[in-house]
């Protein structure tokens, strides 16, 4: 368990560590065919310590780029990203990252994959074993799976292993890049709820990149909508649903309004007419933006 457990109820309660601030951020990267692509520009974003936030945007809006900039994997072209007031200049042990695919080392067992960050950080075998036991408990990973190789694991279990690996060094910030997008709808919902439970038990600032409006609303304190490339924040929509949330939370009338608002912003930012926002309420929530752009 991450130190400094969240106060009971814990909705959006700020902690003193894990605050992220991006100001005037521009990030570009080289293209294979030459030239550079400006993925983010003039992006300002503030995430309080302990907050859980969803990043949503049309395809190519730079959601993953923003996540990588926060993770210190992409240097800013202009502007800064700060963690607890100090600019991020490279990968940081206070930040844990979960990718779209489990991204496990195929020659290691699940347990060895979870302990990989600990190994790189120079932990001895005994400390690694103790931490592994805690992590298995934290992400509710079946101990019988730990000896398996990645190819033997289901997509969901693989992502659970990846989550445990990201949490291994007790990060203050957890970044998730569409982590459940390759799971089927029901499994995804289960994982969303487990992610929520995990967040509620810890003080970890959590940023979830997603394509899915319902997922964003179910999980987040705030849904941040990015524009089409170059991405910047076009809307910041608070989600005032009581916690702890369940799937029934999605039946709240508020959800429909929030979903319609997000959808309208997405339609606008992807340069399409926001006519899509006028579709009947019942279907709004279930539709992903994946096919929209």
């Amino acid at each position: 368990m991450t130190p400094g457990a969240r106060p009971a109820g814990g909705s959006g309660s700020a902690t003193d560590t894990g605050a992220i601030r991006a100001s005037g951020l521009a990030v570009d990267f080289p293209l294979r065919r030459g030239g550079r692509l400006l993925a983010l520009d003039q992006l300002n974003l503030e995430i309080a310590g302990g907050e859980i936030v969803a990043l949503i945007g049309p395809n190519g809006s730079g959601k993953s780029t923003l996540l990588r900039a926060i993770a210190g994997l992409l240097p800013p072209l202009r502007g800064t990203v700060e963690l607890d007031g100090v600019p991020i200049t490279g990968p940081d042990p206070r930040i844990g990252l979960v990718f779209q695919e489990p991204r496990l080392l195929p020659w290691r067992t699940a347990a060895e994959n979870i302990c990989y960050p600990l190994e790189l950080a120079g932990w001895d075998a005994e400390r690694r074993r103790d931490r592994l036991a805690q992590l298995l408990d934290l992400v509710r990973l079946d101990p019988s799976a730990v000896g398996s190789r990645p190819f033997e694991l289901s997509g969901g279990t693989g992502q659970r292993v990846a989550l445990a690996r990201a949490l291994a060094l007790q990060p203050e910030v957890l970044l998730l890049d569409e982590p459940f997008s390759q799971l089927d709808a029901l499994t995804r919902e289960r994982f969303d709820l487990e992610l929520l439970a995990l967040w509620e038990r810890s003080a970890t600032t959590t940023v979830l990149v997603t394509h899915n409006i319902a997922e964003a609303i179910l999980v987040a304190d705030r849904v941040i909508v990015l524009s089409a490339r170059p991405g910047r924040v076009v809307a910041d929509i608070p989600v005032d649903l009581p916690r702890p949330r369940t799937l029934a939370s999605l039946e709240d009338a508020f959800v429909t309004r929030a979903a319609r608002e997000i959808r309208a912003w997405l339609g606008e930012s992807s340069g399409e007419a926001s006519a899509e926002a006028a579709v009947p309420d019942a279907t709004v929530v279930d539709t992903t933006v994946a096919g929209a752009a």
């Binding site: 940081d92 991204r103 080392l105 020659w107 990989y116």
Partner: protein, 249 residues
């Protein structure tokens, strides 16, 4: 291996021996052209009992092991650098390819002239012939390491040494071991070729003796059999190593 695989293997060997014997009988070949299998078997056993083969085998194995070790070691280093530096690759790969395209048989007299007829010359020839397949396999293997795994390593602040040891080498290992499979059988060729260019012991020397001053053609065949068995055994060692290292992925 269960009986299910042993049986067909034994049957195939039986067919081979019968065909061999049939050729000898039908063609009525004299022993100094093509000895019958049982003649070779008898000579093979006798050569071992009398201790004819052992010193030569020991010499050849020594050359193979040293040559394979140095050739593989150099190939791993060079292959890694070739994979990671496009400039170095452009600069030196033409020479590596040219060296490989020149038959080792043509190079060996020169190498023996330079490095002497002793062990060193053979080790150089062996390592040269082992070098190419292992270097190419290493280069290909390192180049094809999943970029996403390297990004993971970077996000976990793996240092250069950790990236090489925990990501690149394990990821490239199947390819590297594939190159070593080819390399280890070529090492046998290199040792024999080196011995032909000048040596006082080794299985290559024994072949020359059996064909020349001894004129013992069954012994020549027994030596060839020994060489083939050595190659198969070494190949098997690499395959077992491969199975042990990358069995379950």
């Amino acid at each position: 291996m269960g009986t299910r695989t042993v049986l067909p293997v034994a049957a195939a060997l039986g067919v081979f021996l019968i065909a061999w014997k049939a050729v000898v009988v039908i063609g009525a070949y004299p022993v100094f052209i093509l000895p019958a299998p049982e003649v070779v078997a008898d000579r093979f056993i006798r050569a071992w009992v009398e201790g004819t083969i052992q010193p030569h085998l020991a010499g050849t194995l020594q050359e193979i092991f040293l040559g394979f070790a140095t050739g593989t070691g150099a190939a791993l280093l060079v292959g890694y650098v070739l994979a990671r530096s496009p400039l170095v690759e452009r600069l030196i790969s033409p020479y590596i390819v040219a060296a490989q395209a020149t038959p080792i048989l043509a190079l060996s007299p020169l190498l023996v002239l330079w490095f002497g007829p002793g062990l060193l010359g053979k080790v150089v020839i062996c390592s040269l012939i082992v070098f190419f397949p292992v270097a190419v396999a290493t280069m290909v293997g390192i180049r094809s390491v999943d970029k996403r795994l390297l990004e993971l390593g970077r996000s976990l602040r793996a240092n250069r040494r950790q990236v090489v040891l925990t990501l690149e080498i394990p990821a490239a290992l199947p390819s590297i071991l594939g190159g070593m499979r080819v390399g280890v059988t070529l090492a046998v060729v290199g040792a024999i070729v080196g011995e032909w260019a000048g040596a006082d012991r080794g299985l290559g020397v024994l072949i020359n003796l059996a064909r020349g001053s001894l004129f013992d053609i069954p012994l020549l065949f027994a030596t060839l059999l020994t060489i083939a068995l050595v190659g198969m055994a070494l190949y098997l060692v690499v395959v077992l190593l491969e199975r042990r290292l990358i069995g379950a992925r």
